[in-house]
């Protein structure tokens, strides 16, 4: 190896992003040679809205060797099998975006073609009836998927809903046990090398100065290093995703433990409901150009199913991403890298993805621009694909009850998304990404759930209502035979306590 090694890493900020980085880096980098330090300030709150996740989180936890029962008990986690979308296409609608496929595994023709050819909703009931994770979500059941890919019980994945602050504490313990040095303090100054443009060190309020080779900016929206020191620049996507504020407000548990997140469209945005073991996370994401803060809070309180447990936490943001996620010797991870609203629970996924790519492309110390270029190319693609999927939820609506929804119906959308919508509307086609979070079943769920119906179907699709209908009952039967979600969680709690 050459002499200019990267052996001192400084992580700025200790929210979910910071501690996920610290945990993964301390686990995966050679201990003893690389020094990992994290600076955070108790005085600065964390955002922690990412309480709902997608199945990829399991790979992250598994790569750290985290025990699922222990992690779930410590973070008050519930299982998650789907997201329910209410009132999106039209007021009164409800559809599920499941973590799994529709229909039977291994079919040559995508299930929505057969379902539509056989009469669709009129003849067969909602397409939701043909997804096992949806049947499980509705019945509040949980079991791990079967391993045989031909088995219907293998056709789903699962994620978690958890307390993000508790998850950050959990990972802090993990990281500190592996030698990560935590320093309490506020960063007051950042020194940039005039010649190379690299960050050299940061100074804290205490006067302490910390040098590092690689800086990971997990400081949140403001981007303490990437923006305030390096002026990386921001790509604004608010013309496609106009929501720019959120209010978060936890409420008391209701006794129900639905293994799914709910996203209800409101007058100028949407509200989330994320059931945890000990409370329910609620929030309202809205567009300030179309709604004032007071109305937003009123609408959120109307959604609560239990009493409010805290004062509302208000957030402001701008949809978009940092122009370069990796700039010089600074990699932005978490909200400093960009913001996409948590409609599809992707905040933690973007953190995880950035960490994965950073580890894969961990700098050699020569700072060859090709490394950062590759990281940025991959993350840009990841951001753009999630962005398109989110925009679809707003664009594909028939709502015209408010100025906001009329705006969304009429707004221009990226060409990449326009093509996907057109392919589906015309012929029911969903081209597979080779890399990307949301694959075919996700697009099927949202297209159909929001009333984009193909004008033409795969000619191989057969009209076979009598053959398809029994599948719904079969899936319900499989789901009903599984243990209740609450029972599984109590068993975990007992296991963790032992």
């Amino acid at each position: 190896m050459s002499d200019n090694k990267v052996d001192h890493i400084l992580i700025i900020g200790g929210g979910t992003a910071g501690w996920m980085c610290a945990a993964a880096l301390s686990h995966r980098l050679p201990t003893g040679r690389v020094r990992i330090e994290l600076v955070e300030s108790e005085a600065i709150g964390t955002v922690g809205v990412g309480e709902s996740t997608i199945p990829h989180i399991r790979h992250f936890n598994a790569s750290l060797g985290i025990d699922e029962a222990d992690f779930m008990a410590r973070t008050h986690a519930t299982y998650k099998l789907a997201i329910e979308f209410r009132d999106w296409g039209r007021i009164g609608d409800s559809y599920m975006h499941p973590f799994g496929a529709f229909g039977v595994p291994g079919a040559a023709v995508d299930f929505h073609h057969d379902w539509l050819r056989s009469g669709g909703e009129t003849a067969l009931g909602p397409i939701d009836d043909y997804s096992l994770p949806i049947a499980m979500a509705r019945g509040q059941r949980f079991a791990r998927p079967a391993s045989d890919p031909r088995d219907l019980a293998s056709t789903y994945a699962y994620a978690f809903q958890f307390d993000a602050a508790a998850y950050a504490r959990y990972l802090r313990d993990f990281a500190e046990a592996r030698g990560v040095i935590r320093t309490e303090g506020r960063v007051t100054d950042v020194q940039v090398d005039g010649e190379t443009g690299h960050v050299r060190n940061v100074s804290l309020e205490s006067g302490q100065r910390i040098e590092a080779d690689l800086f990971i900016d997990c400081s949140g929206f403001r981007g303490l290093i990437t923006e305030q020191a390096l002026a990386t620049g921001y790509e604004d996507w608010s013309h496609w995703l106009p929501c720019d504020r959120a209010i978060a407000l936890p409420s008391a548990a209701t006794g129900e433990l639905p293994p799914y997140t709910r996203a209800t469209a409101l007058e100028a945005g949407w509200a989330w409901r994320i059931p945890l073991q000990h409370r329910v996370g609620n929030g309202h994401v809205y567009a300030s150009a179309f709604m004032d803060d007071e109305r937003a809070e009123t609408l959120l309180r109307d959604q609560l199913e239990g009493e409010a447990l805290a004062e509302p936490n208000r957030l402001r943001f701008l949809a978009g991403k940092r122009k370069r996620q990796w700039n010089r010797n600074c990699v932005a991870i978490g909200l400093s890298s960009g913001f996409l609203e948590p409609l599809e629970s992707t905040s933690i996924h973007l953190i995880q993805s950035a960490i994965g790519h950073l580890l894969d492309l961990f700098p050699t110390g020569e700072w060859d621009p090709a490394e950062a270029d590759e990281f940025n190319r991959v993350m840009d693609q990841e951001y753009a694909r999630i962005r398109d999927f989110l925009i679809l939820h707003y664009k594909a609506t028939q709502r015209d009850d408010t100025e906001f929804w009329r705006h969304c119906r009429e707004m221009d959308i990226p060409d990449s998304l326009a093509g996907k919508i057109e392919h589906f509307r015309e012929r029911g086609l969903i081209a597979d990404y080779e890399h990307g979070v949301f694959l075919k079943p996700s697009w099927q769920a949202v297209f159909l759930g929001q009333h984009i119906t193909p004008q033409r179907l795969d000619p191989r699709a057969v009209n076979a209502a009598a053959g398809i209908r029994p599948l719904a009952a079969e899936l319900t039967r499989i789901a009903t035979a599984m243990p209740g979600h609450a029972e599984v969680l109590s068993a975990h709690a007992r296991a963790a306590a032992d």
Binding site: L361, F362, D373, E422, R427, L429, H435, R456, R460
Partner: protein
């Protein structure tokens, strides 16, 4: 609506080379089960392709999908196995030949590509391809079909073909006839168009045929596509070696199970070894003997336009160095069943195909650019090849490889990662350092594992039958040893 029982889908393929017949088999399979659907192929008599084909394993994948038996094909057409490509003369500094083997080359470790392990814990990257069973088998001129048992090292092998084009075409034609595909010999003498695209074709000035979907398999002539959609990208500036001459030579012994790709002062040639002859296709910058054909590298901007899908050489003519004709065709045909038209409006189907095909053919163009741009021969014509600017994608991929041996991610790639790595390394493009990830492997464990893989490759290859003998056995109907 077309595609319903009342107005069944009809597909008409024009062109009688392997491209046309493979398309006929694929289309016939795709419409099986559609009531009344029909697939018809019009094939011209006469020479339809080069005397021999050199095909990477993508063709085998397509055969599998179409229910064609590889052993049968080798036995009945007098073909040979291809375990990779063997490059000679591409290094001006007299460095040795290099092999681009098919099948696995070692085993990756998470995101850490195998060549990084060889660089960090083995004898160095020059040795990379030698860990592939195919490379060892090529050196020893041996061949056996891959084992289906994943615990057997022989399962890491993959192969393509050297095929006598006429015999292979005849086999595909017989198979098509057995499967009930309507085939009519004839020449297209007139093409009628309307606002949606093609309206009909006239055969031999007498017979008039109509279809819902027309597939142009007429190669560089682009007979149908030219009538409605001739917007082409011309890639002739990518290479000076645009004149092709084909020769038949006496067979060589031993029978090398690889296509040799040989550069010389004035051009390059590929040698395709068949049991009964070696076919060479030579490419030069000037037409020095009478029997040369001029290549027309390039592609259609929208290979599927209106009701006409151009495939094979009608859609794209990559530089022969890219080895991409059959991989591009295979991907097009694998996509076809999901994109069957249902009526005159095929814009969505066409757009999905065209987007994917553009990326796939971009990869082909980058691959030949990599070879021509990285060879180190000193003759002026070769030096000039190095002046061409690579695409942004290739420039980035090369920079990342040089920085740390890492492969840039690429969607719709038609090559395997090992194909890119063997080309770079073989041409002397080396990473300045190995990936730091490799340092996380225990050196003793990693080095022992490398030795073990290398030994397995050598020993497994040594136990394989001689290539010629294996083919004779196949021909005699004896199951592989």
């Amino acid at each position: 609506m077309t595609g319903s029982a009342a107005n069944p889908l009809s597909i008409l393929i024009i062109g009688g080379g392997p491209d046309g017949w493979l398309t006929a088999l694929a289309a016939h399979q795709a419409v099986a089960g559609l009531p009344g659907a029909s697939v018809r192929i019009v094939h011209e008599e006469g020479p339809v392709c080069a005397p021999a084909l050199s095909a990477p394993p993508d063709l085998r994948m397509l055969h599998g999908r179409l229910g064609l038996n590889d052993g049968d094909i080798l036995a009945r057409t007098g073909g040979a196995a291809r375990l990779g490509r063997l490059f000679s003369g591409w290094r001006g500094d007299g460095q040795p030949d290099f092999i681009q083997p098919h099948g696995a080359i070692g085993a990756n470790w998470g995101p850490l590509h195998f060549h990084q392990q060889v660089a960090a814990h083995g004898p160095g990257t020059d040795d990379y391809a030698n860990y592939a069973l195919a490379a060892q088998a090529i050196k020893q001129a041996r061949f056996a079909p891959p084992s289906p048992n994943p615990r057997d090292f022989l399962s890491t092998l993959d192969f393509g073909f050297h095929l006598d084009c006429a015999a292979y075409t005849a086999l595909l034609r017989d198979t098509a006839r057995q499967r009930g595909i309507e085939a009519c010999p004839g020449r297209v003498t007139a093409i009628e168009t309307d606002e949606t695209g093609l309206a009909g074709v006239t055969l031999d000035k007498s017979r008039y045929l109509k279809a819902d979907l027309y597939i142009d398999a007429t190669g560089p002539e682009m007979k149908l596509a030219a009538a409605i959609n001739a917007a082409c990208e011309d890639w002739s500036d990518d290479t000076p070696f645009l004149f092709e001459a084909t020769r038949l030579e006496t067979p060589r012994s031993p029978l090398t199970p690889a296509t040799r790709i040989i550069a010389d002062p004035a051009g390059w040639h590929m040698a395709i070894a068949l049991p009964d002859a070696t076919v060479t296709r030579r490419f030069t910058a000037t037409a020095d003997d009478g029997d040369t054909a001029r290549l027309t590298p390039g592609r259609l901007r929208t290979p599927w336009s209106g009701n006409c899908l151009a495939i094979g050489g009608a859609a794209c003519r990559p530089d022969p160095l890219a080895d991409a004709d059959l991989p591009l065709l295979a991907r097009t045909l694998l996509r076809l069943p999901g994109l069957l038209p249902t009526g005159p409006d095929m814009r969505a189907e066409a757009d999905v195909h065209n987007r994917a095909f553009t990326r796939e053919s971009d990869a082909a163009r980058d691959f030949s650019a990599l070879v021509l741009g990285s060879q180190t021969r000193s003759e002026p014509v070769w030096r000039a090849c190095r002046d061409a600017a690579p695409s942004d994608r290739l420039a980035h991929a090369t920079a990342l490889f040089k920085a740390r041996g890492r492969l840039a991610t690429r969607e719709h790639d038609i090559y395997r990662p090992g194909d890119w790595v063997t080309a770079w390394l073989g041409l002397g493009v080396k990473p300045r350092r190995h990936d730091p990830l490799a340092d996380r492997l225990d050196p003793a464990v990693a080095s022992a594992r490398l030795t073990q893989i290398r030994t397995l490759a050598e020993q497994t290859a040594a136990a394989m039958p001689d290539h010629q003998a294996a083919l004779s056995r196949l021909k005699a109907g004896v199951p592989p040893a």
